[in-house]
């Protein structure tokens, strides 16, 4: 019994070591971002002096109090806006605008109601100018993998929330991005649908060795899906703690959720985020 457990754990240790030696895929160097505010001479910083590196194939979650600038980090990573100070690198290159190898996915599925599910999945490929026949092959394959067989010609309003988010995942993967920025992609789903989608997402990230930066409010979700956690402070947000999740089953969050180490880890995060200590209402 003991031996099999050791075997279960041994390969993943090698795995996380191997991953650490991979080249850096995402890097934030002293990044700050301020947004002009009314009635203030100086624009207040949303985030300040954010530094981190994410290796290729790693899944890293950012957690922090609401309004700490998590989404700002994501928007700068995907090139939607430039940092006020510091630099952002993706795949070794400074980000100065939308980057081709990056895709993002939000809490909102952002499916276009006037396009069928297939057309929604093909959106990115259509923008790239890929021929219709080629697009179709890719979309069919992804719809299969995201368990949406038979819904290709449906329209978004005909699908449930979970299926719509699956379609959004298929659309994200259709671009075959090396890097995924995920901004609370599951937070609008019910608890069970959420776990199933986390499972699918984790498996795809693992199998295709994608790099992902994950933003979430759900502490257990963060632990279940990531190699590392970055904890942010309140506004102006900066990274105050890095936690390595040294647990097996990154490709299988349903299993990882059952591990006894989850509880203490979540407890530590609650402490860091001061959950429950705050008398202010959220």
């Amino acid at each position: 019994m003991a031996v099999t457990e050791m075997f279960a754990i041994a390969p993943h240790r090698n795995e996380s070591q191997r991953r650490a030696s991979e080249p850096t895929e995402i890097e934030f160097r002293h990044v700050g971002k301020c947004f002009p505010a009314k009635g203030k001479a100086e624009a207040p910083f949303a985030i300040r002096d954010v530094n981190f590196k994410i290796a290729r194939g790693e899944v890293v979650s950012i957690i922090g109090p609401s309004g700490c600038g998590k989404s700002t980090i994501l928007n700068m990573g995907s090139g939607l806006y430039r940092p006020s100070e510091g630099e952002v690198f993706v795949g070794g290159e400074a980000v100065n605008g939308p980057v081709k190898k990056v895709a993002f996915m939000l809490q909102k599925d952002l499916l276009m109601p006037w396009r069928s599910i297939r057309q929604n999945v093909e959106l990115g490929l259509e923008i790239q100018g890929m021929a219709a026949a080629e697009r179709r092959v890719i979309a069919e394959d992804l719809l299969d993998r995201c368990h949406l067989q038979g819904f290709a010609d449906h329209y978004p309003f005909q699908l449930s929330g979970g299926m719509r988010q699956r379609a959004a995942l298929a659309r994200t993967l259709a671009m075959d991005p090396q890097v995924l920025f995920l901004d609370e992609p599951f937070s609008a789903l019910d608890a069970q649908t959420k776990m199933i989608l986390q499972q699918d997402m984790a498996r795809m990230l693992f199998e295709e060795k994608k790099t992902a930066l994950f933003i979430t409010h759900d502490l257990v979700e963060a632990i279940a899906m990531s190699d590392r956690l970055l904890v942010m402070s309140a506004r102006p947000g900066t990274i105050v703690e890095e936690i390595i999740v040294d647990l097996p089953y990154r490709e299988n969050p349903l299993e990882r959720r059952k591990l006894p180490e989850i509880g203490p880890l979540a407890g530590r995060l609650m402490e860091l985020l001061k959950v429950g200590e705050d008398t202010e209402l959220h």
């Binding site: 939308p98 081709k100 952002l110 923008i127």
Partner: protein, 258 residues
């Protein structure tokens, strides 16, 4: 399906009740015919006008003016609404004048247009264009302005060009608002053309209406009103039909009255 049948039955019953009231109501209330002619008298007058004063030709002229005015006005509204929607600077500069023009009663321009363009179909079409233009433009403008910014960011991260953002996101997002503008516009077009014909000319249902009024022919006035209403209903119906085809992707509950 059953409730649909029931409501259709109800509508039909109301129509029959209305027609019956029209037929026998004036007689029961003792109204003279020159005040309120009964239904059969109006129908009789309609047949007479069809045979002797070219009711069909006048109706067709009015219909063509409405369709042409509506099409041009809607096109203009789409083009200008889109341009202003995409260029906040231009809109900020033009908005006081747009507002002033919107507030000005468009039908008041009718005599002016008749003076400029004579007793032809053109002043009627021009009024229709002007009156149709505003609801379409305003709806398209505000729809383009309120497109979900996350949706635009999504296609931006996919490296979409400015034109692709417009074609793939902004324009399709505005379709629902465009159609609600077109619905309003279709009924306004009828008003615009009718006023134009009332002011001057010797063609169209508006002319027949004034002509009948001059002769004290109340039934003739009603015939013209009925025909104008029919054209309006058809125009509105055509817009609703097109809307159902174009906005087929909307949940049924979102498409209001049919």
């Amino acid at each position: 399906m059953k409730s649909l049948n029931n409501s259709m039955f109800g509508s039909l019953a109301l129509l029959i009740l209305f027609l019956a009231l029209w037929q026998w109501g004036p007689g029961l209330l003792g109204m003279p015919e020159f005040v309120m002619p009964k239904l059969s008298r109006v129908a009789q007058e309609g047949v007479l006008m069809w045979n002797s004063s070219g009711l069909l030709e006048h109706t067709l002229i009015t219909a063509v003016e409405i369709v042409v005015g509506f099409a041009l006005g809607a096109l203009l509204g789409i083009v200008i609404g889109t341009s202003l929607g995409l260029s906040p600077k231009a809109e900020a500069m033009l908005s006081p004048y747009i507002l002033a023009l919107q507030i000005a009663p468009k039908v008041a321009f009718a005599p002016l247009f008749v003076m400029w363009l004579g007793y032809t179909v053109y002043p009627k079409i021009l009024i229709a264009v002007l009156i149709v233009f505003f609801p379409v433009m305003i709806n398209v403008l505000s729809a383009i302005r309120t497109v979900d910014p996350d949706m635009i960011n999504l296609v931006r991260t996919m490296n979409a060009s400015r034109w692709q953002i417009f074609r793939l996101v902004e324009f399709p997002s505005a379709m629902a608002a465009l159609f609600s503008g077109l619905r309003i516009a279709s009924t306004l077009a009828v008003i615009g053309v009718t006023v134009g014909e009332l002011v001057g000319g010797n063609q169209g249902l508006g002319f027949l209406l004034v002509d009948a009024e001059g002769q004290g022919n109340t039934s003739g006035v009603f015939v013209a009103i009925v025909m104008l209403t029919l054209i309006g209903v058809l125009a509105y119906g055509a817009v609703v039909w097109a809307e159902k085809r174009v906005l087929h992707y909307m949940p049924k509950a979102m498409l209001s009255t049919n």
